[in-house]
């Protein structure tokens, strides 16, 4: 009996030891891909991987080379192109820490469904990376730019995208799960942030512009997709409107003119939006309620905001400004793109499933004539650290 137990124990031990570190990979054998890019070329896909060069990143190790290296391979499909990278580096491309996927504009215009399937299906990818479309550029151009402060361009793009949506509402973060869900949903079309390159300054010798000749990456508008194909771009103001309608721009700045010349600048501190559908004469309509809390960030002129009537004037000015922005955005989507990027169709689908069955086949057409009205409620919370206008002369 005891011998049997000993024998069993022995076999357990052997089975453990014979597995011999199955699927173990030392960190220094991995090429950690921090950003990837896809372009469409004549010979199929071009796949880029921006791979970390750990030696160049931490301060205490002697700096060798750039913080990241870009590996490029071509292939008919994404997976085999990725695997081909082993032809040029001994490090195994490790995708679990991928932060950004940059799609070239050509690729985006051609359809992104195949790419999304690959990134959803492959076990090594997580779902917390963001997509961006290189605006009028190829993905390669974007991925070749080195960035200041955060030396890893992939991380730089990732963090800056998150921050920008929160701080100014001029872009939007989209991860793969959200993207796939929107593409799958009826009456909802995706948008992806556009990423652009600022032209470098002429005197590229200056110490301030050593990285990539002073070229910087920046987010520029949102790319509007119909099905899975890029069809156009939203401008800065339209992007803001889009984010107001969907309640994404929670902390963006906004300004209005008072007395033609004097600006009042607000900082939004809270924003909630609620999209609801209603039926009017058998026709669907959409109502968007946006409630905003704002504080005053700066003021010109001599409006005394401490007075109740003036406070109400300021609130109303902001309300009409935001309403205008939102209406313009909806108009653009309805008439230029005829593409329901707000998910209004989805709202109608949920509330009136039977009606939706009739609408869905011709939704792009229906959408362009869908009446949308806005109710904006602004509440001014604080006048800031000072109350009265700074330079007003007391009479």
């Amino acid at each position: 009996m005891v011998n049997k137990i000993k024998l069993m124990f022995f076999f357990c031990l052997i089975s453990v030891l014979c597995s011999a570190c199955w699927s173990s990979h030392e960190i220094d054998t991995l090429g950690i891909s921090i950003a990837a890019g896809i372009d469409l070329t004549e010979s199929g896909y071009a796949v880029y991987h921006q791979v970390l060069n750990p030696r160049a990143i931490t301060g205490n190790v002697e700096t060798v080379g750039t913080p990241v290296y870009l590996f490029t391979q071509y292939g008919d499909n994404l997976f085999s192109a990725t695997r081909k990278i082993a032809l040029e580096t001994p490090r195994r491309i490790y995708n679990a820490h991928l932060r950004m996927i940059i799609l070239g504009e050509d690729m985006a215009r051609n359809g992104i469904k195949d790419a999304i399937d690959f990134f959803m299906r492959n076990y090594e990818f997580r779902t917390d990376f963001y997509f961006a479309v290189a605006r009028n550029k190829t993905a390669r151009e974007v991925l070749e730019i080195l960035t200041p402060l955060e030396f890893t361009p992939g991380l730089n793009m990732f963090e800056s995208l998150k921050l920008a949506q929160e701080r100014n509402g001029l872009t939007k973060e989209v991860n793969i799960v959200e993207l796939a869900q929107i593409i799958l949903a009826e009456g909802y079309e995706p948008v992806l942030p556009g990423i652009d390159i600022s032209s470098g300054t002429a005197d590229s010798d200056s110490a301030m512009t050593t990285l990539s000749g002073g070229k910087r990456l920046f987010y520029n508008g949102l790319g509007v997709f119909c099905d899975d194909k890029l069809i156009g771009w939203l401008s800065e103001e339209e992007t803001l409107g889009f984010n107001y309608i969907l309640g994404n721009a929670k902390n963006s700045p906004e300004y209005v003119y008072y007395n033609e010349t004097d600006q009042i600048t607000f900082e939004l501190i809270r924003l909630h939006s609620k999209i609801s559908a209603a039926l009017k004469d058998e026709k669907p309509s959409i109502n968007v309620k946006i409630s905003i809390e704002a504080i005053i960030a700066a003021m010109e002129g001599d409006l005394d905001i401490s007075k109740m009537e003036n406070k109400i004037i300021a609130e109303q000015l902001l309300e009409s400004k935001i309403k205008g922005i939102c209406q313009n955005t909806v108009k653009k989507a309805q008439h230029d793109f005829r593409c329901d990027i707000f998910g209004f169709g989805e709202v109608i689908h949920r509330k009136y499933p039977d009606l939706w069955k009739k609408l869905k086949s011709n939704w792009r057409h229906e959408f362009s004539s869908l009446p949308v009205d806005f109710e904006i409620a602004v509440e001014l919370k604080l006048p800031g650290q000072i109350i009265k206008p700074m330079f007003r002369k007391e009479k």
């Binding site: 597995s19 011999a20 570190c21 030392e26 220094d28 921090i34 750990p54 990143i57 931490t58 820490h97």
Partner: protein, 514 residues
């Protein structure tokens, strides 16, 4: 209660005829004693023979190295006076001697050689009178021993700083003076056929559970061995799970810890020659308690206790978790951390598992060296360890800096475990976990944890589950396990260990005993 029946190696050292009684003739006795002790030069046999009156012949025997010379000299003088006393009711010298010394404490008589030897070897002086088959033993033991000093292995900031020393009587005194109650019972036993080591059991009547006291007494009495040199011998010979790495008796140098254990109904075991006392039954959580916990504010103590438990887990798991995560599960490291780990791993020639083994082994070697070497060169080791091995290895690119951090964290965490035996157990298990992590990743670590938990669940200390009060979960007991609740809320002594007297707050036993 599980009863352990184990055969302990029989020693060959029994006396040829243990029951041999003294002879009538003084000379016969002396010859026998001299033969038995053989070449021992420190055996002193002073024979006073009176050819005129042989019945007045007597012998004084002692072992020179064990006795206090002054006391022996004093005794001899007293005997001389005895000779000179003019009127004698009886001429039986033995009776006279007994009468003369009757005021001396611990005066013993006996008839067997084996008892006589025991007396001699305890440092007593034995008198034999011609024509008598009895001996008279007078305590002359040399009481030199180390003074009561501060414990070296269990230091505290607040609380008593006395520590046990090597003399069993001193140790018992230190505990006795803390509980001035006649309910404290002491039982003396002798263990070890050759060493005849004095072992004492101490417990508080009614507070200690009868069955536990009986079980410990039985187990100690069943020990058959030649020698007992330290309490750990007792523990190893009578513990419930003889193959387990975990200590099942709490060893302590501090009398206040023993006192507290006695008051919870535990039994203390003192062994002559050892500055450690054992208390049993001991449960797992106790090994992470310090007597000091009760001398500080309960909130502070609770936090510190939690910290110790966390540190125990970290010292056990930090290296293995690092190995598992960096070689199997890089995806769960936050990206910036992964980048800095990757940067430090660049150019390190060893796999993480080997690297970890190298460094952990080096640390264990340093630690062992630190214990063994003379105290004067202690600082040399720390310089060699910290500078030469740590910094130089990192700068040479042989070891990554993260690994040095991991090893030092492990080391520092391990020192928060108050009990040395427990910290040793964790030390060894850590290496097993490292292998599991290197072979199977976190999967292996968790398998190891499950096996470890099962093992701990299986252990018993004198029949008490080792993980009590966590498993089985006993709600009230947990007031004094992971946390330390205020004294006024601790109303009951530990369940399963306590005897009839359950409450801590009122002394119910006093009603009976007076």
């Amino acid at each position: 209660m599980r009863i352990s029946r184990r055969r302990i190696r029989r020693s060959g050292y029994t006396h040829s005829s243990p029951d041999q009684v003294l002879y009538k003739q003084l000379q016969d006795n002396l010859t026998r004693i001299k033969t038995d002790f053989g070449q021992s030069d420190d055996l002193v046999v002073n024979c006073f023979e009176w050819t005129a009156n042989p019945s007045l012949s007597y012998a004084c025997i002692y072992i020179d190295t064990l006795v206090d010379k002054d006391t022996v000299n004093h005794l001899s003088e007293e005997l001389m006076k005895l000779k000179r006393s003019p009127e004698q009711e009886t001429d039986n010298l033995f009776i006279l001697m007994r009468r003369q010394f009757s005021s001396i404490r611990d005066l013993k008589t006996g008839v067997k050689f084996i008892d006589l030897y025991a007396e001699l070897l305890s440092g007593n002086t034995v008198f034999l009178a011609d024509g008598n088959t009895e001996y008279l033993s007078i305590p002359t033991e040399n009481k030199d021993s180390r003074a009561i000093e501060e414990p070296s292995s269990q230091t505290v900031i607040r609380g008593p700083k006395e520590g046990f020393s090597e003399r069993i009587n001193t140790n018992i005194l230190l505990v006795r003076k803390r509980i001035r109650s006649h309910h404290v019972k002491l039982e003396n036993l002798t263990v070890g056929n050759l060493t005849r080591t004095a072992v004492s059991l101490m417990y508080i009547e009614n507070i200690a559970k009868d069955t536990i006291v009986r079980e410990i007494r039985r187990r100690i009495k069943e020990i058959e061995t030649a020698s007992i040199l330290e309490g750990s011998y007792i523990e190893e010979l009578i513990k419930d799970d003889k193959y387990s790495i975990f200590p099942e008796f709490l060893s302590t140098e501090k009398p206040d810890t023993v006192t507290a254990a006695l008051l919870e109904g535990k039994v203390a075991i003192f062994v002559d020659g050892s500055p450690y006392a054992l208390t049993a039954p001991a449960v797992f959580v106790e090994f992470l308690h310090s007597s000091e916990d009760f001398y500080h504010n309960f909130i502070v103590s609770s936090m510190v206790r939690l910290l110790r438990f966390i540190a125990l887990f970290l010292t056990l798991l930090t290296p293995s978790a690092y190995i598992a995560i960096t070689t199997f599960h890089q995806e769960i490291i936050p990206t910036p951390l992964l980048i800095s780990i990757a940067a430090q791993r660049e150019g390190v020639p060893f796999p993480t598992l080997i690297e970890a083994f190298l460094m952990e082994t080096t640390f264990e070697v340093l630690r062992e060296a630190g214990v063994r070497m003379p105290r004067a060169i202690g600082s040399a080791i720390s310089i060699v360890g910290a500078l030469v091995l740590g910094q130089a290895a990192v700068e040479a690119g042989i070891i990554s800096a993260v690994m040095v951090i991991i090893v030092s964290m492990t080391a520092i965490y391990s020192f928060t475990v108050p009990n040395y035996e427990m910290s040793n157990a964790v030390r060894i298990i850590r290496f097993i976990f490292m292998v599991l992590a290197g072979v199977l990743g976190l999967y292996g670590v968790f398998m190891g944890l499950i096996i470890l938990t099962l093992h701990l669940c299986k252990l018993k200390s004198i029949g008490i589950p080792y993980l009590m009060p966590l498993a089985p979960w006993i709600k009230n007991e947990n007031k004094d396990s992971l946390l330390r609740f205020p004294l006024w809320s601790l109303k009951y002594r530990p369940f399963g260990i306590r005897g009839e007297d359950k409450r801590k707050t009122a002394q119910t036993s006093m009603k009976k005993g007076g």
